[in-house]
Every structure is written in structure tokens, then in C-alpha cells.
């Protein structure tokens, strides 16, 4: 197929062409990470496929198919659905507050028959879509600093407040940071950015002192002084550091990590799976996984770079930011550089919710790539 052929009207809408436009190296990288996750889940439960490894891999296969399907969805459809998805997510968040399912002192789920819905996950994508939708139609001047920015600020803060209320501080911060980065990418004035950063910095101490739940504050204080409480809150981080450190250069060997096999490592299948991997595969294994994550982030960012539409750019970049934040926060947490906030390592950790979010998000990223030359009209976008 020649380049000229692709310029023919309608040619790019052909399924086979679309499939060809999918970044298959990107997909392969995702498979490698998820494969490593499955491998670790098999190992840490005493070389058993159940109950973690097999369902996790099966889910990945399912969600991988979903991602490819979403990649084929025309970007204009994503554009049109941006606000409805956001709106639906917002309503569900409200519903959670009213009839949500209690778990571990927090209200995060909606139970619909056999399906658990966690609206905060929908909002991770919803906020990105809505912001991209807004900035697509906003002028540079508007995006820099204007009253119109109250709208994206509302789009971000309203769900953040609801999620924080659940309470799910990790997800709330994730949405807040993603939204903030999208606003910056949209063209927010540097002066405002500086002021915002300073403002947030000033806000941290009072929030920590008065605005947090007891366990949240304990986690934070433990992070600041982990040796103070090795049997309580500091235990998780301490055991994680032991798992990491004792892995050494090449690790203890597959299936031989004493910290994870003997359950010293808490939450080994979810939040701390990276530590389990580090223990068994050492520095070499860890750096390999980090390189895979770096590859995913840069390929996704490159997709945003290549997109012709502003909506596509910001949507792809927003999803990338979410993913990168997951990786960085979880990595920092298991290595004792950040407080324990309950953010999993995407694709590696056991659990369907985050994997679904990430794969749907990457479906959007791939859709941006497949449809990077699409013209997305907004009717009034350029007039603002």
C-alpha cells in the first residue's frame, strides 16, 4: 500500500487499513508487561495458576481484544461521547455515595448483578475525555488564562471531591494530577502554573493535619519516618524494601523469593507485586520492567505528538499521564519513596478494575493513532 493510496478518501476507514495502523510494537510491549505479571502471580502463590495467575491472564486477553476494538472506534465517536461518558461517570459517582458497597471502610463500588462498577475508574478516562473535548474547542488565549477555565477546573474538581469523599485519596489525587497536567498541556499560562504549584504546596500541611482520615494520616507520617513503626503502618514499606534489597543484582530465582513466598510481603499480588518481582529477578529484572514501562509511556506520548486533532493529542496525552502516574506512584511507594496510597502497578498487579481502565485508555490512545489524520470538528471550537 502506498502513501498515495492512503490519501484516497475513505481508504483510511477500511478495517484492514485501520488494523495496519495499530501500533503493534506498543501492543507487544503491553503483552510483555502483562505476561511478566502473570508469571509473578503464578510464582508467588506457590507455583499455582489459581487463584491469581490464570484469571489475570484471561482478563488481559479479553481486555486486549477490547482495546483493539476500541482502537477501531472513530475518533469522532470518542469526541461525541466525551461529555456523555463524563456525565455518566459523574452520576455513578454520586450513586456510589448513596448506595455504594462498603469495603474496608470505604465506599467505592456499585454492585450491578455480578458486575462490580467502580465509577472512579470511569472518571479517570471521563475527565481526560471531557478536558480534551473542552480544549479542542478553546482558543490559545482561553486556555492560557480566562474565566472559561472555570469549566475544566470544575470538570476536574467535582469528581475529585466525590472520589476523595469515598474516601479514595489515591484515585482522587491521580485524577487531580492528570487533569492538572492536561490543563498545562492545553496551554495554561506558566505564571498560573507556578502560582498553582505554590498554592498546592501551601495547602498540603493543613490538609494533612485536618483533612485526612486517621489511617491516611498514619500512612503519611509513617512514610516520613518509617522506622518508627515497623510492626504497624511501617511494616508494609519495610518488608517491601527487604524484598527489593534482598533481591540483589540477579534476584533469588523464580519461585524462590522468601519474602513473597512466606507472606512477609503484604499485598504481594496487588500493590506490592513489583517488590515480589524485584526479589525474584533482582535489579536486572526490575530495570527491564521499568524499560518496558518507559517504552509504553514514550510510544503513547509519541501517538499524542503525531495526532492532528487537538482532541486526539490531549486525550492520548491524558491517558499517558494517568498511566505514567500509576507507574511512578506505585514504584515510589514500594521503594519507600512515597506513602502507601494503594495505587497498583498497572498491568502487573492482580486485579481487573485498573487493568480495564488502562486497556480502555490504551484503546483510546490507539484510536488516536489509527485516526491521527482525522479532522475532528467541534462546530464552535475555533470560534472561542
Amino acid at each position: 500500500m502506498t502513501v498515495s493510496a492512503l490519501t484516497r478518501p475513505g481508504e483510511r476507514d477500511r478495517l484492514i487499513v485501520k488494523l495496519g495502523e495499530i501500533d503493534w510494537i506498543f501492543c507487544l510491549t503491553l503483552c510483555l508487561i502483562a505476561g511478566a505479571g502473570g508469571l509473578m502471580l503464578f510464582s508467588i502463590n506457590g507455583s499455582s495458576w489459581m487463584p491469581w495467575a490464570a484469571p489475570q491472564l484471561a482478563r488481559f486477553v479479553l481486555f486486549f481484544g477490547l482495546m483493539i476494538l476500541l482502537a477501531l472506534v472513530d475518533l469522532r465517536v470518542w469526541f461525541a461521547l466525551a461529555y456523555p461518558i463524563y456525565g455518566a461517570g459523574f452520576l455513578l459517582l454520586l450513586a456510589v455515595l448513596v448506595v455504594g458497597h462498603h469495603a474496608l471502610g470505604a465506599q467505592r463500588w456499585l454492585q450491578a448483578g455480578p458486575i462490580q462498577i467502580q465509577p472512579s475508574e470511569i472518571m479517570k478516562i471521563g475527565v481526560v475525555l471531557a478536558l480534551a473535548r473542552f480544549y479542542h474547542g478553546a482558543s490559545t488565549r482561553t486556555a492560557r488564562w480566562s474565566w472559561w477555565l472555570l469549566w475544566p477546573a470544575f470538570l476536574i474538581l467535582a469528581p475529585v471531591a466525590l472520589v476523595a469523599k469515598q474516601p479514595d485519596l489515591g484515585t482522587a489525587l491521580l485524577i487531580l494530577m492528570t487533569g492538572g497536567v492536561v490543563m498545562i498541556l492545553g496551554g495554561l499560562s506558566w505564571r498560573v502554573i507556578t502560582a498553582g504549584v505554590l498554592g498546592v504546596a501551601a495547602l498540603v500541611p493543613p490538609v494533612v493535619l485536618f483533612g485526612l482520615h486517621g489511617y491516611q494520616r498514619a500512612r503519611l507520617l509513617t512514610f516520613l519516618n518509617p522506622e518508627s513503626d515497623l510492626s504497624g503502618s511501617g511494616y508494609h514499606i519495610h518488608q517491601s524494601e527487604i524484598a527489593l534489597g534482598s533481591g540483589g543484582l540477579l534476584g533469588k530465582g523464580y519461585g524462590l523469593g522468601s519474602q513473597s513466598q512466606l507472606n512477609f510481603l503484604p499485598e504481594k499480588q496487588t500493590d506490592f507485586i513489583f517488590s515480589a518481582l524485584a526479589e525474584e529477578f533482582g535489579f536486572v529484572g526490575c530495570v527491564s520492567i521499568i524499560l518496558l514501562y518507559a517504552a509504553v509511556i514514550f510510544m503513547a506520548l509519541r501517538t499524542a505528538y503525531l495526532a492532528h486533532s487537538h482532541f486526539g493529542r490531549l486525550a492520548a496525552a491524558g491517558i499517558t499521564v494517568t498511566f505514567a502516574l500509576y507507574v511512578l506512584i506505585n514504584g515510589a511507594m514500594v521503594m519507600g519513596l512515597a506513602p502507601v496510597v494503594g495505587v497498583p502497578m498497572p498491568l502487573l498487579s492482580y486485579g481487573g478494575t485498573v487493568m480495564l481502565t488502562v486497556m480502555v485508555g490504551f484503546g483510546l490512545v490507539l484510536s488516536v493513532r489509527v485516526h491521527r489524520y482525522s479532522e475532528v470538528t467541534s462546530g464552535k471550537g475555533s470560534l472561542m
Partner: protein
């Protein structure tokens, strides 16, 4: 944009802003990932050794293995305290375990009544998680294997084979050896040897009395450790025998005691209250230290019930006291040996005569004697134990000189024999009177006659009287008693490694001859001698014993009044003493026997001494050779010379053939 736009420039502008900022964003993400890698390098490359250690200390635990407790043996190696296997049943609580249900199931296999179950549930709830609590000891093999079979279905239940202390001779050695018992909360100290975590091991026992207590740390040994891999909940996952640290068994303690002699003492005493101590006159080794009545130390190992303890503690014959060390009584006439020696040492003429008419008026009052002994000199007065002679003898010497001699013979002295619980007693002198009675600090002349017959302030324990007898028997050396011969093979200081007695050997010999006259050992017959001929005749041919009786009043000072001898209320009867050594002419073994409220020394104490002494003499190969010397052939075979048996003596055989604990049978004809 579908339509040409006049804001085209601006669209390009926001694309440019995005590209620039996205580039910065990529850089920040790259920096973040690089920072993570840096942290990984720090943890996994630089500090890895530290974390490897932490990981290993997580993974492996060391389970304490109690060491086998050291044996206690007698001088010939006969075991006095050892260990026997003990099948124990233990229950620990753990996450999700149902302790009451478990105990109910266990009750199908071993006797566990509801009351015991309720107590165990409380104990287990109070114990740390996964710390096994002993439910039962001494299970039979059938119970042990039945529970081991069911083990996997019963979480938290474990059955193992431990060791428990056993005293094969029951009560005979209970006071000397003491016993071990379960560790009390008060036994655990924050530091020192009793802070050892092995103290918390279920079934671990420590010495609570006697040798077991005094040498507890030697006997205890060092606990070993079993290396086990554990998970985060502390459950044992795997054993690692290569990493085990073997336990160091406790040291063997060899006592100077002789099991045969001691067991004979136990038999001879029966339910009677008192003590018998025997020493080797040549080296000070304590061959026998018995206190009666005794108790079964094995009961203490298991743990006494409240009722059992109460019965022992409240019995008027005080079985829990080691009377050989703690019972201090006036020595009675045995003290006359000291008065005589003090007199001789101070130039008293042994030919000095006094007449005994049963009473003697002096100092405004009447002094009594048992009978009218007639004309007595020092030698006959020892043999007849004439009080009236010794009143006057003591007066001519004075209390301080008597006290000096008595103390030189170990009376009123505490000896370091290794075990605690001695009472020093008292040998009074004028300084004592000054010190103790500020209102009446003067030694009155009237107090001296009482001292002369071993009454008054004087009170002494059986060990001291045995040392006295041993020093008299030795005649030269100031022997010290020795109870512990070796610890872990290391020989302890000999009782002979001390100085000489600061007295003229001739004077000591005079006193010894007096003691021989008491028993008629040398064949002389003194009128009114204490009537000891039969009671102290060993029936061992040429081997004879010399000794001195003593009858100490349990109450009152006036001699010869009130209940005298073995009549009346037990608690008011006199205490009977006998000190002796044998053979009289070449002493090897010395003894003191105290029979509390036994009556006369001659009838209550001396026969016991004779029976116990016979075992020692017959065990001595050289003496046995003398006893068994074949008789000239044509003469008709006769048994060993045995004296007449006084009918009111305990029915103990005097024929050596029937002695228990003897290695060989009949003497060859």
C-alpha cells in the same frame, strides 16, 4: 479543521505549545523512571547485603531445644537424679483456631475434665499467640501415638517427647538434692542467666531446693536451637537440620554421698523425725546426710496439689526441712567431750575426782544427775556421762575456754557444703552474753554448769556435731565437710585440705578413749557406763565404734525433772543425740544422729547410728577383709561376734549377711 479558518495561526500555536510541553512532560516522566532505577540500584546493588540479612532473619527462626539436665550421682556413680522421656501434649492458639473445640476433641484421647479444660482455655488465651501451652504430661505411648495420628486435623496441637527429672530413690535424698519444679513468674529475671528464653519453654524446670538449686546453672546446660523456616504468621514451613545448633547437656554432679548408706538411714528412721550425717574422718566427705521423715521429690517435679503441699507443710514432723542443717538443739551430753578437752587443754588433772550422789548442792540450788555414779574421774565421767562431775569440771574451766574448743571443732560454724539452708546455732561465751543481753551482760557462774552438760544457750545442728565427731575421729586435722565431689568431672576442694586442730593430740586421744569407754569398744567395763554396750555393738567382730550419747531437754532447764525419755506427749519429749566414729582405734567414719523428741540418746539415737555405720564399714573393702578373716580351721565355725540384742531396740538385724545394699553375701568361714 474542515473549513478554512482565520484562526489558523492560533491552531498552530496551540499545537506548538502542546508539542513543547509534551516534550517536557516526557522528560519529566523519564526523570521519574530514572529516579526509580536509581533507588533500585541503591537498594539492590549498594545496600543488598543488609537487606539479605533482614530477609534471612525473617525467613528463619531458631526454635529452642532444652538441654538434657545434668545427672546427679553418688560417690560410686549410682544415679540419684536423672531424666526420663516424657510424652507431652501441647496446644497453642493461632488465627482462627477453636481452642475449646480442640480441647473437647482431645478429651476423647486423654483425661481432661471440664474444670481442667476451662483452666486451660484461660491459660492458652493468656499465652502469646502460637506459644504452646502444656496440656498434659506423661502420656502413655498409646495416647501419644493416637494424638500424633490425629495431629493434622487438630490445628495448634502438638505432641512431643521431652525429658523430665526423675529421682529414682524417692525420698532418701530429697533434702540434699532438692528438686526441680516448673518455672514461676518470679524465677524469671530481666537479666542474668534466668533471663534465658529457655525459661519460657513449656515443661522447662529449674532447681528449687538443695543441690538442684545451688548448682542449677551447672546442671542446666545450654539450650540448642533448631533452625526452621517460618512464614509471616510464624508457622513452621520447613526444617533445616543443617542449621541446627546442638544443645549442650548439663554437667554431671558427683556427690560424696553413698546411696547404700543413705538408703539405710532412710530405712532406719522410718517415720521418726531427725537427721543422720556421716563423714569420712580422713577427708571430710559427707557419706550420708539424711533428714527424716522425708518426701517424694518426684511429686514436686510434677507439681503438688494444694492439699498435698498443705499436708507436707503442716505435718508436725516437718518433712520439708533438712534437719541435718536446720534443726539446732542443745547438744546435751555429747558436748561433754568438748568440756573435757577444754579442761585438759587448760591443765586440768584428769585424775581429779568428784563424788556423784545424784544431787549436788551448789550456788544456792540443787543440781541433778540421772543416778548416783559414786566416785568419778574425768575418764569415767565421760563413760558414765555424769552430769555432777561435768558441772564442776566446767566451772573449773570457764565458759570462754570451753567455747574456744567447741568452735575449733566446728560447733556453731556455718560450713560451705554448696547447698543453702544451714542454721549456725550457738556456742555461748561471755562476749555473747555481753552482746546479746544488754540488761544482764554478765555471765553468771550459775550458767556454766548448764553449759558443761550441753544445755543452756548452746544449740547446734547435726552437721556440726558430725564435723565434731569427724575431727575427734581424725584427731589431728580440722576437717571440713564436703558434699560435692566433682562438677562436670572437675574435682572440688577436699575437706582435708585445711589446717590442724590447735590441740595437744594426747588430750584428744584422752577424749577418744573416753568415748571408747562409753561404748565399751576397748573392752573395759566401767560401772554405770551409759548402758551402751549392746546398742553400739556393731556385731562386726574386731571393728568397734566409739561414741557419746546426748539427751537434750526439749523444754525446761532443770535436769532430771519432768518427762524424761520417750514418754509423754511427743512434742515434749527429749531430743536424742549420738555422735560416734568407727573403728574406734583407727577411725574412718564419723556420724551424728539426732532423733527429735526421741528420748534417750542411748536408746533412740545410738541404735540408728549403729545400723547406718555398719553399712559404711561393710562397704569399706579393707575393713571388710578384717571382718571376714577366716577363722583357724579345726575350730568350730561361729558367726561373727555379735552382742546381745536389747529387746526394746528397733528390730534390726545385726547379722551382716542380711544387710541391704551389700555387694557380697556371707562371710567365708
Amino acid at each position: 479543521m474542515a473549513e478554512p479558518s482565520i484562526f489558523f495561526e492560533e491552531v498552530n500555536e496551540r499545537q506548538g505549545i502542546f508539542h513543547r510541553r509534551a516534550f517536557v512532560l516526557g522528560g519529566i516522566a523519564g526523570l521519574g523512571l530514572a529516579a526509580l532505577s536509581g533507588r533500585l540500584a541503591q537498594l539492590q546493588l549498594i545496600e543488598t547485603q543488609r537487606y539479605e540479612k533482614l530477609s534471612a532473619s525473617n525467613q528463619f527462626n531458631f526454635k529452642l531445644m532444652p538441654p538434657p539436665r545434668g545427672l546427679i550421682v553418688d560417690r560410686d556413680g549410682v544415679v540419684l537424679a536423672s531424666n526420663r522421656p516424657n510424652f507431652r501434649l501441647m496446644v497453642a492458639r493461632d488465627k482462627g483456631s477453636d481452642v475449646p473445640g480442640t480441647l473437647k476433641t482431645l478429651a476423647e484421647f486423654v483425661p481432661l475434665d471440664d474444670k481442667r479444660q476451662a483452666r486451660l482455655i484461660k491459660d492458652i488465651a493468656n499465652a502469646p499467640k502460637r506459644a504452646p501451652v502444656e496440656v498434659m504430661e506423661d502420656m502413655t505411648w498409646e495416647q501419644f501415638s493416637a494424638i500424633n495420628l490425629r495431629g493434622p486435623e487438630l490445628p495448634g496441637v502438638s505432641a512431643d517427647m521431652g525429658e523430665v527429672r526423675v529421682y529414682p530413690h524417692g525420698g532418701a535424698f530429697a533434702h540434699v538434692i532438692g528438686y526441680v519444679a516448673k518455672v514461676n513468674k518470679d524465677d524469671i529475671t530481666p537479666d542474668g542467666p534466668n533471663s534465658d528464653p529457655i525459661m519460657l519453654n513449656p515443661g522447662f524446670r529449674i532447681g528449687k531446693q538443695g543441690v538442684e538449686k545451688a548448682f542449677d546453672l551447672d546442671l542446666r546446660g545450654k539450650p540448642g536451637a533448631q533452625k526452621v523456616e517460618v512464614d509471616a504468621n510464624g508457622r513452621e514451613v520447613r526444617q533445616d537440620p543443617a542449621g541446627d545448633v546442638p544443645a549442650v547437656p548439663g554437667k554431671e554432679i558427683r556427690l560424696t554421698l553413698d546411696a547404700d548408706i543413705q538408703l539405710r538411714a532412710e530405712q532406719v528412721f522410718g517415720e521418726e523425725s531427725g537427721a543422720a550425717v556421716m563423714m569420712d574422718c580422713r577427708n571430710g566427705d559427707i557419706l550420708c546426710m539424711f533428714s527424716g521423715p522425708s518426701f517424694d521429690a518426684n511429686r514436686f517435679v510434677r507439681g503438688l496439689t494444694g492439699a498435698e503441699y498443705k499436708a507436707l507443710a503442716e505435718y508436725e514432723r516437718k518433712p520439708l526441712f533438712n534437719k541435718a542443717l536446720t534443726a539446732t538443739y542443745p547438744p546435751g551430753s555429747t558436748f561433754k567431750t568438748m568440756v573435757a578437752l577444754a579442761a585438759l587443754e587448760n591443765g586440768y588433772d584428769p585424775k581429779t575426782q568428784h563424788v556423784c550422789n545424784k544431787t549436788w548442792f551448789w550456788g544456792g540450788r540443787l543440781w541433778h544427775c540421772d543416778e548416783a555414779h559414786g566416785v568419778q574421774d574425768l575418764h569415767t565421767a565421760i563413760a558414765t556421762s555424769c552430769d555432777i562431775y561435768f558441772y564442776q569440771c566446767a566451772l573449773s574451766v570457764g565458759p570462754d575456754k570451753i567455747a574456744r574448743v567447741a568452735k575449733a571443732f566446728g560447733l556453731g560454724t556455718l560450713f560451705d557444703i554448696g547447698i543453702p539452708g544451714q542454721k549456725a546455732g550457738l556456742v555461748p561465751d561471755t562476749a555473747y552474753k555481753r552482746r546479746t543481753f544488754p540488761k544482764d551482760p554478765v555471765w553468771h557462774a550459775g550458767e556454766t554448769p548448764s553449759m558443761g552438760i550441753g544445755q543452756g544457750y548452746t544449740h547446734l545442728n547435726p552437721l556440726q556435731l558430725c564435723v565434731q565427731a569427724a575431727r575427734l575421729g581424725n584427731g589431728r586435722k580440722a576437717l571440713h565437710p564436703r558434699l560435692v565431689r566433682s562438677i562436670g568431672g572437675v574435682e572440688q576442694k577436699s575437706g582435708a585440705a585445711w589446717g590442724d586442730l590447735p590441740f595437744d593430740p594426747k588430750n584428744i586421744d584422752f577424749v577418744r578413749n573416753g568415748m571408747a569407754a562409753v561404748t565399751g569398744a576397748a573392752g573395759e567395763h566401767i560401772a554405770h557406763a551409759t548402758g551402751m554396750g549392746a546398742a553400739s555393738d556393731l556385731g562386726l567382730g574386731p571393728i568397734k565404734m566409739a561414741g557419746k550419747t546426748g539427751t537434750a531437754q526439749a523444754q525446761g532447764y532443770s535436769g532430771g525433772t519432768g518427762a524424761h525419755g520417750a514418754v509423754g506427749d511427743w512434742k515434749k519429749r527429749d531430743h536424742a543425740w549420738f555422735i560416734c566414729f568407727a573403728p574406734y582405734d583407727e577411725p574412718r567414719y564419723a556420724m551424728s544422729v539426732l532423733v527429735e523428741h526421741g528420748g534417750f540418746g542411748a536408746t533412740a539415737a545410738a541404735p540408728k547410728a549403729r545400723e547406718i555405720m555398719r553399712v559404711a564399714l561393710l562397704k569399706d573393702p579393707e575393713l571388710r577383709a578384717k571382718i571376714e578373716k577366716p577363722l583357724p580351721l579345726p575350730a568350730a565355725p561361729t558367726g561373727p561376734e555379735s552382742g546381745d540384742i536389747v529387746p526394746d531396740l528397733p528390730p534390726t538385724p545385726v547379722d551382716p549377711n542380711s544387710q541391704p545394699g551389700l555387694p557380697q553375701g556371707t562371710p567365708t568361714a
